[in-house]
């Protein structure tokens, strides 16, 4: 019972403590670090599963830090959306940790950065305080700067330089937005803001709304929405495979923040058209970028841009049915993108030396194509067949074709769009764009897949079990999402319903006397 009441803080405390312990250990003790990191992530996975159970209730669970209750203390709020995001984060963390054991554990920096990134992500999803959200954003960004640089090399440093500048500038905008809102509303607690913002005098409304707009720009930069997302493709394509897999959820943090705060503060009223049009522009930009991409990493990066745009446009309809589909899409596309990023590095080992356009990694980034002396674990048999199968599954996910869950998610978004009466012109445009984006993803991945797997002339890469297992697990999870679509749809539908009726959230955080 004691553990149960402390459950919401564990996703923040566990990775923090593990990261601190890992920092203190000698850099050469890679095995010990790997074991500690894995044990911690396994525990976090159990906690995250517990949280999804805990959150599946009529009212969100509120955890008051230091037992100082809102609005004076800082609270963590576990509702279904937060729990799903934490679970998704932890799943990606597990996959990235396992994958990194094979090649990326060298001096042992990856497990430390991974733990701090997980802490920042979990905290950002759970917090119920606007300034605390900023702090967790900074924590996850600081860890992500380190992860983006992992492996070093010119391309990575160059891309990270842009990534860091853009995100530092966005963080400053975040601060301006937060302080404007605080200056007018006099509180930073999200639930209390939800109560006060509708009651603000007309003279001060412009100030609050511009504060919220500046805040939204900071989030949209992180979500890589057009025209704020030019940093994403180069950074993500240059990042090392396990880091890029984690970055798949990084752009979703921005979407999460917009979804949560927009529905909480403005009840989906102000600025919906803006979100819709930027979302649709992002989808077009992503589709065009994907078709123009020459490298697998760039294709995967643009698929994240597309999914950001799709999510933003879908949530801008402010309809619980569409939002539910969007949440399902968020889960499946994040899992798919992470698996794709991990797979890309394995496939690129197979590229012949002549295809340097497609395989910029390797020697430039300081990884030798040569097998390390003592390879951790055996290699898998029938490599090309398995890689090809996994690649096909990933491209089905990106293109949202059956039988994988992205298809179901997209269908449920579309049916949600069509059930809003009257059907507006924008809804038809959005529907068309969703289909076009799927087609673009299919064309781009099929074109590059044919040249890798069927054109011949490629050497068979040596892929270790340790590297293939996380990819396969992520894809099997996706398949499981299709099979278990019923309960999952029910869960995200409840999550969307409670997002669209924020009263329960506010009442849970602010106890009435």
């Amino acid at each position: 019972m004691m553990m149960d009441s402390q459950l919401p803080i564990l996703p923040v405390v566990l990775p923090l403590a593990t990261g601190a312990v890992l920092l203190l250990l000698d850099v050469r003790r890679t095995t010990l670090k790997a074991v500690i990191g894995f044990a911690s992530i396994a525990a976090q996975l159990v906690v995250a599963l517990g949280l999804t159970q805990l959150a599946d209730a009529a009212t969100p669970t509120v955890y008051a830090l230091g037992n100082w209750h809102a609005p004076f203390g800082i609270v963590l709020v576990v509702d279904r959306l937060a729990a799903v995001m934490v679970l998704l984060t932890t799943l990606l963390g597990t996959a990235a940790h396992c994958y990194s054991l094979a090649r990326w554990h060298g001096p042992g920096r990856f497990p430390v950065l991974l733990q701090f990134l997980l802490m920042g992500l979990n905290g950002a999803f759970l917090t119920g305080d606007l300034f605390n959200l900023f702090v967790f954003f900074e924590l996850l960004l600081a860890a992500s700067y380190g992860l983006a640089l992992l492996g070093s090399g010119i391309a990575r440093v160059r891309a990270s330089l842009h990534y860091i500048v853009v995100n530092l500038a966005a963080s400053l905008l975040f601060l301006i937005g937060v302080s404007l809102i605080y200056g007018v509303a006099g509180t930073l607690n999200m639930a209390q803001l939800a109560e006060r913002i509708p009651a603000i005098a007309a003279a001060d409304r412009a100030l609050v709304e511009s504060g919220a707009a500046i805040l939204a720009i900071a989030f949209l930069v992180k979500a890589a929405v057009w025209p704020l997302g030019f940093w994403l493709p180069s950074t993500y394509a240059a990042a090392s495979a396990p880091a890029a897999a984690l970055f798949a959820i990084l752009s979703k943090v921005g979407i999460y923040a917009v979804l949560r705060l927009w529905l909480l503060f403005f009840d989906g009223q102000a600025g919906g058209e803006f979100l819709l049009y930027t979302g649709m522009a992002t989808m077009m930009f992503g589709a065009a970028g994907m078709l123009a991409a020459q490298r697998l990493g760039t294709i995967a990066a643009y698929s994240l841009v597309i999914s950001s745009g799709t999510l933003l446009a879908a949530i801008s309809r402010a309809d619980a049915g569409v939002t539910a589909g969007a949440l399902f899409y968020l889960v499946s596309s994040t899992l798919g993108a992470a698996a794709f990023f991990l797979l890309i590095e394995l496939i690129q080992r197979a590229r012949p030396l002549g295809a340097e356009v497609l395989a910029v990694t390797a020697e430039q980034f300081g990884i030798d194509d040569e097998e390390p002396e003592e390879s951790p674990g055996p290699a898998i048999p029938a490599t090309m067949a398995i890689l090809g199968l996994a690649f096909a599954a990933c491209s089905l996910l990106l293109a949202a074709l059956p039988p994988l869950p992205a298809f179901l998610a997209k269908m449920s978004m579309i049916s949600g769009l069509l059930s809003i009466r009257p059907i507006e012109g924008e809804a038809w445009v959005l529907l068309g764009l969703m289909l076009v984006c799927g087609l673009a993803a299919l064309v781009a991945t099929a074109r590059i897949g044919v040249s890798i797997f069927w054109a011949g002339g490629t050497s068979v890469p040596r892929v270790l079990f340790l590297e293939m297992v996380p990819v396969a697990t992520l894809l099997i999870l996706c398949a499981a999402l299709t099979i278990g679509a019923g309960p999952v749809t029910r869960y995200v539908q409840d999550a969307a319903n409670s997002l669209h009726t924020p009263r329960a959230y506010v009442n849970a955080v602010l106890p009435r006397q």
């Binding site: 900074e138 860091i164 530092l168 302080s179 930073l188």
Partner: protein
């Protein structure tokens, strides 16, 4: 007083934005530092620019709740200073690494061809 502070914030942020848009990494980092000063001041004045009033009121002496210094923006500004200091230091490391690897201090890692 408000005018001076507002002008100060404007000048700091304006020069920072100009510097961020320059092509040299050193200018960019100075620009980020200037903007973060401007933003820190901005957060600070969200608790109003007033001097000589207490943050803790004595309930015994019939306090005037319309006149007190809001301590929260000061706490926020401390956090913001620490975070921007740390991230700027981190950026400095990346900047030096980029300088060493590419041999130029251009933000794109290569000089623009004229």
């Amino acid at each position: 007083m408000e005018l001076i502070v507002a002008l100060l914030i404007g000048v700091l942020t304006g020069s920072g934005v100009w510097l961020i848009l320059r092509p040299r990494t050193y200018q960019v980092i100075l620009g980020l530092a200037l903007i973060s000063y401007g933003v820190n001041l901005f957060i600070f004045v969200m608790g109003w620019v007033r001097g000589g009033i207490p943050a803790i009121l004595d309930a015994a002496s019939k306090p005037d709740f319309s006149r007190f210094a809001d301590p929260l923006p000061q706490a926020l500004v401390l956090t913001a200073i620490v975070i921007s200091f740390a991230t700027t230091a981190l950026f400095l490391v990346v900047l030096l690494a980029a300088r060493g690897l590419t041999g130029t201090d251009h933000v794109d890692g290569e000089e623009r061809e004229e």
